[in-house]
């Protein structure tokens, strides 16, 4: 008998497939993982603590930097929480603009996921195709608010900038373009035998486990639980539009992949209706006091970000700064299931499963 021993391997913090500075300490028996311990916190900036000494308008740029792949939804959850506390009315045009950018952001975020996931699996070209199409959205955002990634676009009571002339038409043109590209994606990747063999049946869990771990977003819906806050607790204007909530059935990486691609289609469907109903003119800022002081009390609001349920809990003492601000970050919560999924898998599946969860380390560590 040859003497063998377990191999302790540090995956990350500098590793091309951990999507940022994230580290997993794995014990390997050959190539099979016997134990996995995620180590996080390399990107911790203390956002929530910093927020306690800032007023609400000043906090918005910090939310951009949490989930930097989906900054618009982060903006929204903060301003939505403050508006709920203060009972502010948001003008219709501003709310439409918010909804359009949030759905565009969902498409952009899923495109980043799609491209990097394929890169994790070992195919390089899809990454560049996804980034080409995401670039169109980024350019639209750039025209709207002058930034490509950290937008700082929304304000309590409205949005900072109105859409420039012709912007809505560009969004309208983007929808059929993206639908065509999605068909291309399906042709290139979704039917690929190697790809299917890599992700089918990998990282499987059932609905009960997903709920126990508090998973949300595509990670929950892949198990067949039809739960989408846009549908179940409509915020913004989502109750005005028709769309479906795609779900999977087996809860493996393939279902997560399918759910996310289908969500892009549904987002385009929402966008198509939103662009049609977009009000011709109107205000983009509501009536907001000069200094925003939410009344004393607590509020928790939650919305559906591309990664799942992002929540914002504000405790206010009636001052311009929050007494305590807490974000429920979906990447952080979704990540907790990782050690359970990894035991018994190979090194290769580690990357497949981690990529399938779709984390953004800025949000995990906040």
């Amino acid at each position: 008998m040859i003497r063998t021993e377990e191999l302790l391997l540090n995956v990350g913090p500098q590793h091309p497939s951990t999507h940022g500075v994230f580290r997993i300490v794995v014990k390997l028996d050959g190539e099979v993982i016997t134990e996995a311990t995620p180590v996080m916190g390399y990107l911790h900036r203390g956002t929530e603590k910093i927020a306690e000494s800032l007023n609400f308008t000043q906090i918005i740029p910090y939310t951009d930097r949490m989930d930097y792949v989906s900054a618009m939804t982060n903006n929204y959850v903060l301003v939505h929480a403050v508006e709920t506390m203060m009972g502010l009315e948001v003008p219709l045009r501003a709310e439409f603009l918010r909804l359009i950018v949030m759905e565009l952001q969902r498409v952009a975020s899923h495109l980043v996921w799609w491209g990097t996931y394929l890169l994790d699996i070992g195919a390089m070209s899809p990454f560049l195709y996804a980034f080409r199409d995401r670039e169109t959205i980024i350019n639209l955002f750039n025209e709207l608010c002058g930034a490509r990634l950290t937008y700082n676009y929304m304000r309590v009571g409205g949005v900072k900038w109105d859409a420039p002339p012709g912007w809505i038409d560009k969004v309208r043109e983007f929808i059929p373009y993206m639908e065509k590209k999605l068909q291309e994606y399906d042709k290139l990747v979704t039917g690929n035998e190697i790809f299917l063999a890599r992700i089918k049946g990998v990282g499987r869990y059932d609905a009960a486990t997903a709920i126990d771990y508090g998973l949300s977003g595509a990670n929950l819906r892949c198990t067949g639980v039809r739960w989408d806050l846009r549908k179940d607790e409509p915020y913004s204007l989502y109750d005005r539009f028709e769309f479906d909530v795609p779900v999977g059935s087996s809860g493996d990486c393939y279902d997560r992949y399918r759910v996310r691609l289908e969500e892009i289609r549904q987002s385009l469907r929402i966008l198509r209706q939103a662009v049609e109903q977009f009000p011709q003119d109107g205000e983009t800022m509501g009536k907001v006091p000069r200094v925003i002081r939410p009344p004393a009390g607590e509020t928790y609001v939650r919305i559906e970000s591309p990664r799942g349920e992002i929540g914002c809990h504000i405790v206010s003492k009636g001052k311009a700064e929050p007494y305590r601000l807490k974000f429920r970050r979906p990447s952080f919560v979704n990540l907790q299931i990782l050690p359970k999924l990894l035991v018994g898998e190979t090194m290769t599946n580690l990357i497949t499963i981690l990529g399938g969860i779709d984390i953004v380390v800025g949000e995990v560590d906040a």
Binding site: L7, L9, H15, P16, S17, E31, L118, L119, D120, I121, G122, A123, M124, S125, L128, Y129, R132, L188, V189, N192, I194, F195, A197, R198, T346, M347, T348, N349, L350, I351
Partner: protein, 337 residues
């Protein structure tokens, strides 16, 4: 050229042989330089990029600049590495890759060694490179490198076997292990006389196994960038690293040439009326097409998993290759004799 090999060994002959080898090495290095350029351009084109276009006209000197950069880089050897093996591995990877080229005939006149066991020579020598990869992975004293090296060993065992068996059909058809005779046996004027068509099963198995032998996508597991970072050569830098890459590209050359010789009729024209074009041109065209296919595959496919690779090799390719040998033998026995 081959004639020199038959003459008694004297100082003069040895010198001539040495010079020929040096010239050939330069040709191969030139190929590698422009194969990398070709690959980057082809993949850039497929991936909506421009590819190299800054160094020299049309970026033609990009690879030269890259090689120069590697040459002047600091050569690091990890303190805890096995020094001797660490230094030995890149050379051991490169030498067999160059040595296998000796038996490949480019046209009726242009070849180096007219070896009667050419195919066996090729298969035997090309296996040594894997040894170098395992050695490099082990000597680096790095866990990722070790995993890469071990994967490579497993991959070689699973793919060398179907690769060799898939070409038995060709050997049966032409009745020779000599690569030059194999090309001659495919001479019929038309392209359907090439081994590609009667040996289509063998060709498919051969090509899959060959891509795997090359450690290229979708079988680039030993260096799997997204899992093992760079696999076996993660600790190598400068020119030692360049030697691993060089070996990889020389094998691209070798496999493309071997595919052309075994299955695509070598230097023969696809139709009799095209005979006026010199054979070497046909060889180069087919050769370039095979190289292009390798790049094309790399730009299209994701990577397979190690266990899937094993089961594909042992459970699919090997039985198919053996069935191909059986069918070929049966066909020869029943209809040809």
């Amino acid at each position: 050229m081959g004639a020199w090999l038959d003459e008694p060994l004297s100082w003069g002959n040895a010198l001539v042989l040495f010079l020929w080898a040096a010239v050939f090495l330069l040709i191969v290095l030139g190929f590698v330089t422009y194969a990398i350029y070709y690959e980057r351009k082809v993949i850039g084109w497929m991936q909506l990029r421009v590819g190299p276009n800054r160094v020299g006209p049309l970026g033609l000197l990009q690879t030269v600049a890259d090689i120069f950069k590697l040459l002047i880089k600091e050569d690091t050897i990890p303190r805890k590495a096995d020094r001797l093996l660490f230094i030995l591995a890149p050379a051991l990877a490169f030498i067999p890759s160059f040595a296998v080229l000796a038996v490949i005939p480019y046209s009726e006149k242009l070849y180096f060694a007219d070896l009667n066991v050419g195919l066996l020579y090729y298969a035997a020598l090309s296996g040594i490179t894997t040894l170098a990869i395992v050695l490099g992975g082990w000597a680096s004293n790095n866990k990722y490198a070790l995993l890469g090296g071990m994967r490579s060993a497993a991959q070689m065992i699973s793919y060398e076997v179907p690769l060799v068996i898939s070409i038995v059909g060709v050997i049966l058809l032409s009745g020779s292990l000599n690569l030059k005779d194999i090309v001659t046996a495919q001479d019929g004027g038309w392209f359907w006389h090439w081994n590609l068509f009667p040996q289509i099963i063998g060709f498919v198995v051969f090509f899959i196994a060959a891509v795997s032998e090359l450690n290229r996508t979708p079988f680039d597991l030993p260096e799997a960038e997204s899992e093992l970072i760079a696999g076996y050569h993660v600790e190598y830098s400068g020119f030692r690293f360049a030697f691993f890459m060089l070996a990889e590209y020389v094998y691209v050359y070798a496999i493309a040439a071997l595919t052309t010789v075994l299955f695509l009729g070598g230097w023969h024209a696809p139709a009799p009326f095209l005979d006026f074009v010199p054979g070497i041109i046909w060889f180069l065209l087919k050769f370039a097409f095979v190289v292009f296919s390798l790049f094309w595959i790399r730009a299209t496919f994701p990577r397979v998993r190690i266990d899937q690779l094993m089961s594909l090799g042992w459970k699919v390719l090997l039985p198919v290759a053996i069935a191909n040998v059986f069918l070929t033998a049966l066909w020869l026995e029943l209809f040809v004799k």
